[in-house]
Amino acid sequence: MNIQFRDSAGVTVVAVAGKLDALTAADYETTMKALLADGKTRCVVDFSELTYISSAGLRVLLAAAKSTKAAGGETRFAGVTGNVLAVIEMTGFNSILSLHDSVDAALGAM
């Protein structure tokens, strides 16, 4: 898994590529906690290059989204497709996360 950041008018765009699984979930969690500690509570998570997600990945996704919301911020997700979207729909996460077709669409909704 590879994580990259960029700032877009006060919103942090977090691009996650590769696999979010039991081996990499802790890296995602650490990254999102560091952003929160840094006061960056408005995030768009770009999953367009994410190819795989397991329940370990969903767990940290949900925990981070809850923490951000509790801090008064918000997290939106962009580019969720293929098997990743299938898993998110299977587990009902599509009804509790804000999903957008693209990063631009997510930024526009912030």
């Binding site: 767990r59 809850k66 098997n83 009902g92 509790i96």
Partner: protein, 160 residues
């Protein structure tokens, strides 16, 4: 004891036995073993003609059940898990065997799929996901071993 979901078809290989044209590897029951097990299973599945989508589903289901073994079968001691896979009749079967604590699938609560973000519990989705990704998921406790089977029917895509 057998617990299964959407179970049908036949499975004529005794638990723990080698499959025809199958493969079997044993690794420490630690998360770091996961890629090895997934690669081995995916190669075996491809040799048996499973398509990319079914292999992707099995790969994810395998992670879910293997992580369960690492966390719950051996909570305080080191142990191993043995992966065997191959064809049995008109099924492709992935079997995981460990010698750890018994696991009761009936004790796994159904996830609250409709709950709102704040109410949604973090975790508890692994077994549920594995069930959804394969045609049948079986668990059996046998002679001090846990046997979990992920089963795909008609692995080469023949109609039912």
């Amino acid at each position: 004891m057998i617990a299964s979901t959407r179970r049908s078809g036949r499975c004529d290989v005794a638990p723990g036995r080698a499959f025809a044209n199958g493969t079997s590897i044993t690794r420490p029951a630690v998360l770091a073993s996961l890629p090895d097990l997934q690669d081995e299973m995916a190669s075996c599945a491809a040799r048996h003609g499973l398509d990319a989508q079914r292999i992707a589903n099995l790969t994810l289901a395998l992670e879910e059940v293997f992580v369960n073994i690492c966390r719950y079968a051996y909570p305080e001691v080191d142990g191993t898990a043995t992966l065997s896979c191959g064809c049995s009749g008109d099924q492709f079967v992935v079997e995981l065997v460990d010698h750890g604590q018994p696991f009761d699938p009936a004790s796994v609560p159904e996830p609250e799929l409709g709950a709102e973000l704040d109410a949604r519990p973090v975790g508890g989705l692994g077994w549920f996901l594995a069930q959804r990704l394969v045609d049948a998921l079986e668990y059996r406790r046998d002679d001090g071993r846990n046997l979990i089977r992920l089963i795909i029917h008609h692995p080469q895509g023949q109609p039912t």
